[in-house]
Symmetry: C2
Subunit: 223 residues, 2 copies
């Protein structure tokens, strides 16, 4: 191996080590309570070395989240390439998302369950893996609407509502593994199936929902 | 005021002060990183005083969560007493849950978004306010199934799936307020309506879902 190749490899290994240490500390002590100095101490380097690779704590967090999403995008890209009906594809993506979160709870927690500083990730969102992951979900929803599987709903609104649903079961299973769940897989299936069924055919229930959601007061019911 | 009445009031005020300090510290530094000593220091009392009112840290956490649920139960009890159709009632309860979380993000985060020690809350669950809050949701779902609004689904599974859905939008709006949400209220409405519509009428979509959710591989599609 050339000395240049060795340097490249060593640099990658060090970045990896810093990221792992930061992730562990963020999960353990909370993002706000960890300093760059503490991260450096954990792996026996000087803070200066850490700053050579990451501009600040937010940069570290961004890279950890990007890693999370890159794995999810790789899985999603494979799924989207399948020649299967759009609803099956969308449900598979939803299921893949949930399985992913349960398999990588620390990554998931840090990316979606912990509050970040306002604007910390958002300003880099446009070109991020997180954006690509959401775009994959969105493209599956788009296909379902285009092919008439779903009603003519607003694309972004529908994608965000679906994301909220799959996030709900993922994050509860991570935060409350001891809750007396009847059957985890059955709950996942029922939720994903039901949300999609509602997107496809939500008219029956919609007409009954006549309460004022802003005030939580029931209004006169339609006949 | 008699001296006994004064003592009772002072005791309640002190408990309140300890609970507020504990909640602030748990949210700020993470539950695992806070000691009883730190909580005592924050309000200028000795640890012994804190121990007179709460047996340990888990006891404090339990009481904070109970407080969260007691507020929700009070709201739920009012809703359930309304003479309105069961689906409207259920949707109102879901909406009340979400609004409650958004209005009390620190309580909500600590109760549902942070990992507790295994068994820490669960052993006291049976007689808790948390249990009562879930029973309220469950009773609304039960009425929907009994009156034929929903299909004949498993009651507990359906209640848990619905909870996961409303938790999803609540916790994402708390953890990611800066995400480019199209319209928060619209997303909430669409998710709650869709899950319920799926519980009512999920057959159409169910038959298309023929992938193997364990392996994420599509199986042969039904005609």
């Amino acid at each position: 191996m050339s000395s240049k190749a060795r340097r490249v490899r060593e640099k990658a290994a060090l970045k990896r080590e810093i990221l792992n240490a930061a992730r562990d500390l963020f999960v353990q002590d909370g993002y706000e309570n960890v300093s760059m100095r503490r991260i450096a101490e954990k792996i026996d380097y000087s803070p200066t070395t850490v700053y050579l690779h990451f501009t600040d704590k937010a940069d570290l967090l961004f890279h950890i989240c990007e890693e999370t999403f890159a794995k999810l995008v790789a899985q999603g890209d494979k799924l989207v390439a399948h020649k299967i009906d759009p609803l099956t594809k969308l449900k598979m993506f939803g299921r893949a998302y949930i399985e992913f979160g349960l398999k990588h709870p620390d990554h998931y927690r840090l990316t979606f369950m912990v509050q970040h500083e306002p604007g910390e990730l958002e300003e880099r969102y446009e070109n991020s893996m997180g954006h690509r992951a959401f775009e994959l979900l969105r493209s599956c929803v788009e296909e379902c609407i285009a092919k008439g599987v779903f009603r003519r709903l607003d694309l972004s609104l529908t994608s965000q509502a679906l994301w909220a649903g799959v996030h709900g079961i993922t994050s509860l299973l991570i935060a409350r593994p001891d809750f007396p769940w009847v059957e985890k897989d059955g709950t996942i299936d029922l939720l994903v199936d039901s949300v999609c069924a509602g997107f496809a055919n939500g008219e029956r229930c919609k007409s009954i929902s006549t309460f004022n959601p802003r005030t939580l007061n029931p209004t006169t019911q339609r006949p």
